[in-house]
Structure formats: C-alpha cells, structure tokens
C-alpha cells in the first residue's frame, strides 16, 4: 500500500487519525515498535 496514493483508505485513515491524536499521541502512549525509527531507512 502506498501512503501517497489517492485512495479512499488513505483519506479515511487521515480522518481517523484525529482519534489517535487525542487519545494516544497527546497522552504519550506508545505508538509503534522500537525499531520503527529506521523502518524503510536502512537498506
């Protein structure tokens, strides 16, 4: 799946992010695996 594609799923995910922002991100909750930082960066 490409994050850049003009899809309904990408649009809905962006709209749903609001819930994650208020309920997880602002509260300092863990949002991803510890190696996410280098995901897609190291070849």
């Amino acid at each position: 799946m490409s994050l850049l594609k003009d899809t309904e799923l990408n649009h809905m995910a962006k709209l749903m992010f609001k819930w994650a922002y208020f309920n997880l991100l602002l509260k300092g909750a863990w949002l991803g695996p510890p190696d996410l930082m280098m995901e897609g960066k190291v070849r």
């Binding site: 490409s2 709209l15 992010f17 609001k18 922002y21 602002l26 930082m37 960066k41």
Partner: protein
C-alpha cells in the same frame, strides 16, 4: 524538589509532559507554561474549509489532555534565560528550572511578505489558523469560478504536503459543486517540483496532471498586489489569481528571538540528532520550533519525543544518552 519546565502546551509539550510524568519520581515537579488553554488539532485546519471537520471538533481544552501531577500555568512567556535557568512570564512571575523542554512551535507571518497582510481577507485566505480556515470555507462557498492559486511563500512550513492536499481537496470540492470546469487550480511553489523528495514528487506530479492542477515551480514570492490580484516573484515573474490561498512564511516564537536564543526566523539552533542547543546539557527542544531540517509536523514531534524521553531519563539518572533523532515523520 527538582523542577522540569516545559514551554508550550501544544502537541510536543503535552506529549512530553505526559510521557515524563509516568517515569520521573515524585521529587520532580513538571510545569507546562503556555499563553492560553486552547488546544487546536492542527491537521483539522485542512478539512474545515471543506466542511469535512467542524470547527468545534478541532478545538479542545489543553488542560483536558494534561495528566494529573503536572502543573499548567497560563501566561505569555516574556523571556528565556539559559544562563540563569529562568523563565519569565507576563502575569505569573518567574520560574527556575533544572531541566527545560522547549516546544513553542511556529506560526504563519503574513506580515513578512510585502502586500500580503494588507490583502488578507480580500480574495486572499489561508488555513493555518483556526479563524482563517473558517473564513476560507466561507470564501470557497462564495467562489463561482476563476483561477485559484495555492501559493507557498517560502520553506520551511508546517506540514509541507498540506498545500498539495489542499489543492487536491479543492479539485474534489469543485467537482462536487459541479463547477470544476469553471475553476483553474494552480500550485505555485518555491520548490523545483510538486514536493521536496524525488519519489514523492513524481507521484504527486502525476496526481496533479490527473486532476488538471498546474504546477508553477521555482517561484520565490516577493510581493502581493491584492488590488491587481497578482503575486510577484523576486525574478519579476507574475501569477494572476481570482482567489489566493496563501501559505505565508513560518516563524518560530518571537520571544525566542527577543531572548537571543533563536535565529532571525525564530527557530532555535540545536544539534539535529540530540535536539539540544550547543553547550546546554539540561535543555532540549522539539517540534516546529527547532532549526533542524525536517518536516514541521506532529509526527516528527512524536518521534523526537521518544528521543527526548529516553535521553532526559538518562540525564536524570546520570547515565549515557544514546537516543538519536533521524528526523523522520513516518
């Protein structure tokens, strides 16, 4: 009692306070200082003009998201003194700190472009502030056709892809209204293409072509003539508009300039990996207010927050600080 002070109660500051409160002992106080108690969900600014988000959905109380055990002080910050380890406020006195986290963000500055502020609201609109995105929504409803120009004045800006998203949403919106054939959409940018990175630029350029959105690259905005409805570049080129959706220059907090700790655009110079100013081992900066060459976005602040969390806890315990920011957003 040892004191950790956080400047700014937006995305970065609130997140850091809540993360650190969980892990710091009770002999540490945590205080957030911010100018007001309103938390805006900034990604929603993009959707309000199209009625996808309602204004009430993106405005909440800051205090609502600050966990127990964290003091929240509402006042303008008037000075930051790293030597004295002291923060001055307009109405709440001075605060000393043992650790300082700075997350004061950035904001648009239409006054930095000749003619832009004078024309604001006269066929010139924006979406980077709560009131602006609502006014833009009203203007879109009134718009019957003509040339809409989406213009980035200069980089860096908050959420660099947002202007393109706006153009795409405008394409959808005018289709829905049945007037897309009466509207030209032009994306006028100082970049050499649709976006900053080649892979994304290729995909997004194709998307613009599919949607009949014209890209005008390498346009370094010099001035705006709102009476003639034209934007002018420093090289003399011009683009006419019927409605201008402007992304003005973004600046960091003025108080950082006034305190002598920021560059002329208000961004605080830090090591791009440790996010610390040179020679200040008890000060960290995250989010839009730094000078690091990354996207100015909540996602970046989130990942920077992980780095700060680990390194601040290491600093408190006297251990090695291993975490390094690589500036990514996803």
């Amino acid at each position: 009692m040892k004191k950790l002070v956080i400047l700014g109660g937006g995305t970065g500051g609130t997140m850091m306070a809540n993360k650190l409160r969980k892990d710091l002992d009770d002999d540490w106080s945590i205080t957030i200082i911010d100018k007001d108690n309103i938390h805006y969900y900034q990604p929603g600014y993009l959707f309000v003009p199209f009625d996808i988000n309602k204004p009430r959905e993106i405005r909440r109380s800051k205090r609502e998201f600050i966990n127990p055990g964290i003091e929240f002080v509402i006042s303008d910050i008037t000075n930051v003194d790293w030597d004295k380890q002291e923060i001055s406020t307009a109405t709440e006195g001075k605060f000393n700190y043992d650790i300082l986290v700075m997350a004061t963000g950035c904001d648009i500055r239409p006054d930095e472009v000749e003619g832009l502020e004078e024309g604001w609201g006269h066929d010139i609109y924006g979406y980077y502030r709560f009131n602006d995105c609502q006014e833009l929504g009203k203007a879109l409803k009134r718009f019957k056709g003509g040339r809409m120009v989406v213009n980035i004045a200069e980089m860096p800006i908050k959420c660099p892809v947002a202007p393109l998203e706006f153009a795409f949403l405008a394409d959808w919106y005018f289709h829905e209204r049945g007037i897309r054939d009466d509207v030209e959409i032009e994306f006028v940018t100082p970049l050499s293409g649709a976006f900053t990175k080649p892979v994304a630029t290729k995909v997004l350029t194709d998307a613009c072509e599919d949607k009949n959105i014209k890209i005008v690259p390498n346009f370094a905005l010099g001035s705006v003539d709102h009476k003639a409805k034209v934007i002018q570049a420093f090289d003399g080129s011009e683009v006419e508009y019927d409605m201008l959706v402007s992304i003005p220059p973004n600046f960091g907090a003025q108080v950082m300039i006034d305190s002598g700790i920021a560059d002329p655009m208000g961004y605080i110079p830090v090591d791009k990996h440790t996010l610390q100013p040179e020679g200040r081992d008890n000060v960290w900066v995250l989010g839009d207010g730094t000078d690091v060459p990354t996207s100015k976005a909540g996602a970046v602040a989130h990942f920077q927050g992980d780095v700060l969390h680990e390194n601040i806890l290491a600093y408190v315990s006297g251990g090695e600080q291993h975490a390094r920011s690589d500036g990514h957003a996803v």
